[in-house]
Assembly symmetry: D2
Homo-oligomer: 432 residues x 4
């Protein structure tokens, strides 16, 4: 059994059962909505080890509630299928053996329809549990359910990232959603905003509502004054980097990044397609589209972001600098709820734009525990802490991040070579 | 355009258009029948590089007729979809670029239903063509259509091999077909039949109906007298080999085989499952079943067959010895049409049993061209000749081989480490 | 040409030419002394990609002076051999193509004797240069020569690490140096020293003599109060971890570390050998030796160190915590000059022991640039900066680190899976 | 203990002890002569898994006599060093564990000098044994010693192949032997000799002196009439193949060969170097040399030979055809004793030239056992039989094959992708 402290929900006022149920149902419905355009065949494939099938996401998020909420808290709950624990556990060593990750795409059974039935079974039991939840367990129970909904929202984003990758492997170029014309906005001109130095409190405030454990404990960090760009780096700017030999000049790259770039034959961001005559298009959730030069560059790895920053004579921000600067922007933006499904040009009317949504922003910060961070006991403790090596922090959410999921203190993390997430960059510069 | 000589169909009397149409339709229907128990999800996966998705088999065999028959022979034929040529070409370099083989399982589109429509489109055009086929092209045309049907029959067997492999990766243990009780027959006792030596004509007789090009030219081979087992090696005999350390004694193995066995951790035939207490079951097209000790051992590689033969103090036959001995048996047996979907114990009433059907029989013959074999011009020439290295010949068909597809002179070939085909062995011994 | 600022040597008083020459000759002689016990055959092998042959170390350190000092600064200097630039460049992209790193062990030519002649040629030219160095270039020149000597000292440590690995692959168990009996000291008992929190200046003081560029700029860091162990973790304590299932319990490990440990079959530190009956020995530069339970554990990766700390209920220090605590110890210890060639038990008479020497101490800090760190222009800029991803910081030097090479601010770095360096750990604990 | 029958030496008249000693000493001295130009460093490296260090060849051939002759036959023989059995066993599973083959290049110890002492120790014991050999064991003993000498001669050829490969990895381009000017001979014009068909006896005659076990039993094979080229394919002819797109046209290649060629980036024979302007040189035991257009092409794989034959509209001979045709040439040629160390143009005065020496000739025959071949009992049985899969037969010896080692019936074998042996091809054509 997990204590509430495991989940990052600390001394905040307890949410009501009705509120929790509403959020639960909203998140569950959203997953169904996202999977709806996909055929049973679309939902079964796994196009690389990092990705998972749609069907698996739908089942795994359900398994999470079954395993961590229903089994410990709902008396007489009966498992939908005993075999599912093995099939749909992702990485929780404490919960037992698992189906090998690279083979998730071989699970033609259970069918899409059976997964739908599984979801219904668990949703119905969850409704029952939320009717009857005993007072004394509500602290823990509500925290776990909230954690489960945020967990499912993470998988909503993964679902879209993963299907984009799968579709990109098919020369038929399937579209997840219909094409729409390119945006023609008044893009804001690049400008630099000064951020003063000092000691800043970083991380989630204990009374600030839900957060993952890795966002705390809140603590002070010294930050030196710096300049931050008012918007994200654009496709047009990235083309200039490419034309200046960006992918061919080792002096711009970290040594590991250069090795990956050479071995992988990188010559452009992920999903870009060379149309000849120095023309590029971009494969997207709306199929192949011509490149919007004003939109933020997307599907770049940390290594590429760092090389671009070096080429620019600037650098990437630390995650602390980003969090401090983010105070100048509201926690809104082009998120999943906008329906764009792609990053959009910055609007000219904000002094600091695009801090939330559009693309995750690479930072130069390695993903490490905050001071006095403790891994929770039991399986839930495996949620974040065990990944704190070799990965880099990204901040701010993207155009496929659910809107009520992102936070100023949210720490996403990926390996520095990965590109299938919706990630871009914003530059900063030292004040000397 | 291909000449008839490319297909092995030489100076045999020409079949009538009605006969060809009947065979064509029969084969096409059989493919549909075999795919029928499989859901769209089952049909999309590729569980290893050697295997292909059911849907791909259905499309590729259709593409074969479209590319090699309809396009050259049916005036005004319009392609079902221009993109399919890239997706469903298997290995014909002469016909252009191809979708990468290891990624066939990523093709969620076209859907199963679209492939059904593709099949109908081509079948209908084939019907039209067979109505109108001009006399002067009938020699070539009929040969190509026959080749196409035999090609499709090969893929019928592959379809079953491949789905068995895919299902074996799922702990839910899906069944392709319902379970049936184990056979309890009077198995024939092991006996040895003498075959006299001499010069024998080997290979397909020019007037003997359809054959693949690799079955000719017919030519004489010297064979020394030998003894051949009256039946296949059984599961029970294989257990004795295992108990005597068969998988642990390098002196029994070819060096390459020993390396593969160690690297792969082989300790039993493919699809065997250790049930503890020295008990084994076998995963099959009918799900997991207990081991029938009297049934032929199946899903063994050439290396394992050779090690068993060495352990027995006998040896594997050459493909020539097998072909000579096969004269003592009729070209019938437990083939796909029996519906058993698994090898069965030998019946006691035949002096030489199981030469056809049950399992492909490993030979000690490397897959090499017969004297004066010529590769045909053009893409059809890629059918067999270019695989004549590194593989071994197997003879006699299996319980998943279509009945009107097998022949005494039929040369199947696999790499010596492969085990997913329905393959077993029969022993021979020198007479000294 | 490189500016002095590239080397970290900033506004410190300039050393005299005589001092520089003395240090240069001392370091060069030490390399020869270290290589002396090794036969020409010993000096040619490369036992893994991370390692390099002794001969290559001897040549590469010489190439460094030839390329970065003699060519730009000594008029009329003639290269010893034009081909050596290609053979002995390590990773400087700016200086041109290189012999592939994994193939360094194939260079049977030039011979050991030719490398000796190369060293003499360069040493003699360096002597000449130091006689005649013009005043105006002395700032840059002296900085580069000092950098070259510290670079060579790094390779001295690598030489010993690499030959230990090479010898460990040979069942004859060659000894680099003669065996000596195990030390029997009064080991200090484990105790915890409190370190107060606050803002601390971290990094090299500009006037503090030589340092690498990655040790600056000096800047303030907030540190919370903590307890630090008075000595390193011992072999005896590591055995307790092993007996408690340390290598078998995934909950103790970072996810990436667990994967590496499983794939690599780790069950004990590097070079430990299972002698049966729960008895272990250790292969060392003095051959196989029985395990000294009081000596520090050595040849463990970051992943293992982190798992041990988790098992202990403690944690690894950050590199900042380490640097702050190190003020309580002098910059001396069991370094290369002690001649021990292995880590020794802590002496009981120091309140905080073993901060310098014995083993490099793993920290939980990823190797990142300090605020306002700038990579120098040109090839020398490749020295440190381009490795600032995926690696972890280690502090304090080891028993194979040259004595006048280590510093309180010295940042060594290795990948978290590497174990061939002399690395161990010290625990810290939060004060709550 | 091994019986004489294991070695292929059957009922031939027994050689005298003096003859055996003379041959033994001659072979042993020749190995020393071949290793003499190589420094201790040259002798330690292993530049690929297929190759072995010179020092290892010198030791392994000595271990063969120690293990299979001295230990069983010389009373009171004391091993030179007990550890050598593990280090210098190649692949004899029956004799125990072995040092891993890919790590042979890590054995810096024992030194070259120690191996020289090992050789002397064994040679001296062999001399003693040959003085005292008891009559009753002479049949077996003499057969084993002869086998040991032929085994050592195989390693003499390997030693030269392997050092050529090692030197080819070094941009200094070391020479095993001094350069000599290119030969300018009257090369014979290409002509075709007719060979009649029939039944031919193939394999070693029982009374014909020493042969390896794989050369028997002698047996009859049917061969159809064919034409054979009077000489080997030349470098000039190979250039024509290259200019005609030979390495770029998949239709010329076996499927496996095409895959290897693409993955390996083959664009020319092994050791050819592109000098620009369509000019090629060749790295050889005498260093880099310009290409002799009249000399036989060398260092080509079976796959390349087969592709060339297909391009020529001809084919490779079977090993039986080669053996039958070889009756028209004497068993002499440009072998190791010529001192050329490279293949030479065919002389114009022989109707069928170059059947022996110059280059091993690829055949289209897979390496399979002859009818009634039996693997000998014990370790010696591992000599040849266990390699009878996946490899192809080559015939006729090369310019680095010892002269009194080659035979008309000699079956050499390599994998179809290997190129480091001195191998070329001769074409044949069917008579129709």
């Amino acid at each position: 059994m997990f204590s509430a402290s495991a989940t990052g929900e600390k001394s905040a006022p307890l949410p009501s059962a009705a509120d929790v149920l509403k959020r639960f149902q909203g998140v569950r419905n959203e997953t169904d909505r996202l999977a709806q355009p996909l055929s049973p065949e679309d939902q079964v494939v796994q196009s690389m080890t990092d990705a998972s099938p749609t069907k698996w996401h739908r089942a795994h998020t359900t398994w999470f509630f079954e395993t961590f909420v229903l089994q410990p808290f709902l008396t007489d709950y009966s498992l939908f299928d005993e075999a599912y624990g093995y099939l749909f556990n992702s990485y929780y060593e404490a919960v037992g053996e698992r189906h090998p990750r690279p083979d998730r795409g071989l699970l033609t059974r259970p069918s899409s329809d059976e997964i739908a039935a599984y979801r219904q079974h668990v949703d119905s039991a969850m409704g029952e549990l939320l009717q009857s939840a005993a007072d004394e367990s509500w602290v823990d129970l509500s925290a776990l359910i909230l954690l489960g909904t945020h967990h499912e929202q993470q998988h909503q984003e993964l679902l879209l990232m993963d299907i984009l990758h799968a579709f990109s492997c098919n020369t038929l170029e399937p579209k997840y959603a219909g094409g729409v014309p390119l945006e023609t906005t008044d893009m804001s001109r690049l400008a630099w905003m000064e951020v003063e130095g000092g000691a800043f409190s970083i991380g989630h405030e204990p009374e600030g509502g839900f957060a993952f454990d890795n966002e705390g404990p809140r603590h002070d960090v010294l930050v030196q004054p710096f300049l931050i760009a008012n918007r994200l780096v654009t496709n047009g700017e990235w083309l200039a980097f490419m034309k200046d030999g960006g992918y061919k000049r080792p002096e711009l790259w970290l040594a590991d990044g250069w090795a990956v770039a050479q071995n992988s034959g990188w010559a452009a961001p992920g999903y870009w397609r060379d149309e000849g005559n120095s023309d590029w298009s971009q494969f997207s959730l709306r199929g192949r589209q011509s490149l919007n030069l004003d939109a933020p560059v997307c599907h770049i790895s940390f290594y590429e972001a760092d090389a671009f920053a070096t080429w620019s004579g600037k650098r990437l921000p630390t995650e602390f600098e980003w969090e401090v600067a983010s105070q100048r922007d509201s926690e809104t933006g082009n998120l999943l709820s906008s329906g764009a499904l792609r990053p959009l040009p910055a609007s000219a009317d904000k002094p600091l734009a695009q801090m939330f949504g559009d693309v995750w922003e690479h930072t130069r910060s390695a993903y490490s525990p905050y001071p006095r961070f403790k891994v929770a006991d039991g399986a839930i403790g495996e949620y974040n802490g065990k990944f704190m090596s070799n990965q880099m922090v990204l901040r701010g959410g993207s155009c496929v991040t659910p809107g009520n999921h992102i936070r100023r203190t949210y720490r996403n993390f990926f390996y520095p070579h990965q590109r299938w997430m919706f990630a871009g960059l914003r530059l900063v510069e030292d004040i000397t």
